[in-house]
């Protein structure tokens, strides 16, 4: 296993220490329980947006903490959902009296732990709501499974709801907007290589030199199917088609296109794929009005990419454009 680490069992705490040192004015980080919070939290009278999940997907979620996005993030162990007391601690730190929205990716572990946390927090008298995001169209037959996973759409949701909260929206509005994003966002990913979980020490699966895994999650869970490695045009089509089939993206739809690296895929390839995706969308008469390109929700060193499409309206577009100041996303502030 090739990693720059000291000890697989302390890797998250060790990384949080470095993250705190790297962003002194922006973040306030506690280690036990592990919470990454805005340095200026709690912000009085503002709805607090709290998320979290397993580590290994950086910059998600800690890199999205800051004005205009998350108030706090709870990093679990690598690929392991955080625990309820982490979430409770985060909420306690950032609650500004206007209620708290929990953003939860749809995995059994995340849902159960956040559910328990929400009960604990509600018992403390805090108005807490939960929105579960499940944008991964790779999962079919959701009634026969744990349901679709939360993937790339999470980043967009956190940005948009974070902007609303920052501008003074109340908890009902934040919850409504979060559900609007969930209803209008779809994603799909592929992997060329597998990630290696530090405490496991070997790749999560094995792909031959000429294979790729289509419909991959962000935890090294195998995907929909294993296919022969294809060229970039075919890969982008394999990601876009199921997204477009799923949501009624119509001609003239306005969308945000998010082209994401799973970590190990270099920016050169990512821009290349992004260009293909924009061309294919244009051919179908879909208007790309906003875009995000980069490694924003990753799976350790896994090579691969995902595409996320969000149907925009004026409200969502304005919230996307609003200022944000976090470690990983920053504009207008």
């Amino acid at each position: 296993m090739k990693k720059i680490i000291n000890d697989p069992t302390t890797i998250v705490a060790d990384a949080l220490r470095g993250m705190a040192l790297a962003h002194p004015g922006l973040l306030r980080i506690t280690e036990d329980p592990a919470v990454v919070a805005r340095a200026d939290a709690p912000v009085r009278g503002k709805v607090a947006i709290v998320s979290g999940g397993g580590s290994g997907h950086e910059p998600l979620h800690g890199g999205f903490v800051g004005p205009g996005m998350l108030d706090a993030a709870c990093p679990g162990a690598v690929f392991t959902s955080p625990t309820p007391d982490q979430v409770q601690a985060a909420v306690t730190q950032v609650d500004g009296g206007a209620g708290v929205l929990l953003v939860v990716k749809n995995y059994t572990g995340d849902v159960l732990n956040f559910e328990t946390a929400a009960e604990l927090v509600a018992a403390d008298g805090i108005d807490v709501r939960t929105v579960v995001i499940d944008d991964d169209v790779a999962v079919r037959d959701s009634t026969w499974t744990a349901g679709r996973r939360g993937v790339g759409g999470t980043v967009l949701l956190e940005k948009i709801v974070g902007a609303a909260a920052e501008s003074g929206a109340d908890l009902d509005t934040c919850e409504r907007l979060a559900r609007a994003v969930v209803g209008n966002v779809r994603s799909m990913g592929i992997a060329l290589t597998a990630p290696t979980v530090p405490h496991v020490g070997e790749p999560s699966f094995t792909l031959a030199e000429d294979e790729m895994e289509v419909g991959i999650g962000i935890h090294g869970e195998p995907g929909r199917s294993r296919e022969p490695l294809a060229d970039a045009d075919a890969i982008v089509a394999a990601l876009l088609d199921p997204i477009l089939d799923d949501l009624p993206f119509a001609e003239k739809s306005r969308v945000l296109l998010f082209t994401n690296s799973m970590g190990g895929t270099p920016l050169l390839e990512l821009y290349l794929a992004h260009g293909i995706a924009e061309r294919m969308l244009a051919e179908r008469g879909i208007t790309v009005e906003r875009r995000l390109v980069g490694p924003f929700i990753t799976s350790l060193e896994m090579q691969g990419m995902s595409l996320t499409l969000l149907r925009l309206d004026d409200e969502l577009t304005a919230l996307w454009d609003a200022p944000v100041r976090t470690a990983a996303l920053r504009w207008g502030a």
Partner: protein
């Protein structure tokens, strides 16, 4: 040997040792159809349980199980953390605050624990989860604590084995669809390991 708080604490320590011993096996099972953390997460959680028992041993069996429950909930994460946490919490509540376990209490606690897991995770038998090991185990009866637990462990082991051919419909393995068949479910395996360890401790 009686079945007081001390004995229960000893059984929990023994279970922690068994989990540690089987950590790699559970990691491998979870890697095949999940994300590979089940063994590490449980090992970490039970490590904290033992550390807390070292600080102070609670004075009733229920209090011991409550300590296990809150520790697992706050330290394990993932799907298994809240599910096992709920199981131990419900069992603790079912035990009441008597100083000793009886066969009847064990049966009741087992049922309560398993009902809790089902309520929480909403999985049914056949979904290829720990529920496949736990539901049969919850039917265990016997005239001694040891008998009940041995019956539960036997049933859990058979239930765990029964997950091999199944297609998962809950948890992370469900994303695999047909590809999940042919693998033992890690949570069912850890449930069987825990119950066998409890049986062996009496």
């Amino acid at each position: 040997m009686g079945c007081d708080a001390g004995a229960v604490a000893a059984a929990i320590r023994e279970a922690a040792a068994v989990i540690t011993e089987h950590r790699d096996e559970l990691v491998r099972l979870d890697q095949a159809i999940g994300d590979g953390d089940h063994g590490e997460n449980l090992k970490r959680g039970f490590g904290f349980v033992v550390a807390r028992l070292d600080e102070s041993t609670p004075d009733t069996p229920a209090a011991v199980l409550k300590l296990v429950a809150t520790t697992l909930i706050s330290k394990v994460g993932g799907a298994a953390g809240p599910l096992y946490g709920t199981a131990f919490l419900r069992a603790a509540t079912a035990l009441g605050d008597g100083p000793e376990l009886t066969p009847e209490l064990i049966s009741t606690a087992l049922r309560a624990a398993v009902d809790g897991v089902v309520a929480r995770g909403k999985a049914e038998v056949g979904d290829k989860t720990m529920v496949d090991a736990l539901v049969p185990a919850a039917k265990a009866q016997g005239s001694t604590v040891g008998e009940v637990l041995r019956a539960a462990a036997d049933a859990a082991e058979a239930g765990a084995e029964s997950t091999v051919p199944l297609v998962a419909r809950k948890g992370r393995a469900s994303y695999l669809g047909e590809r999940s068949a042919g693998h033992l479910d890690p949570g069912a395996r850890s449930s069987a390991l825990l119950l066998r360890s409890f049986a062996d401790s009496t």
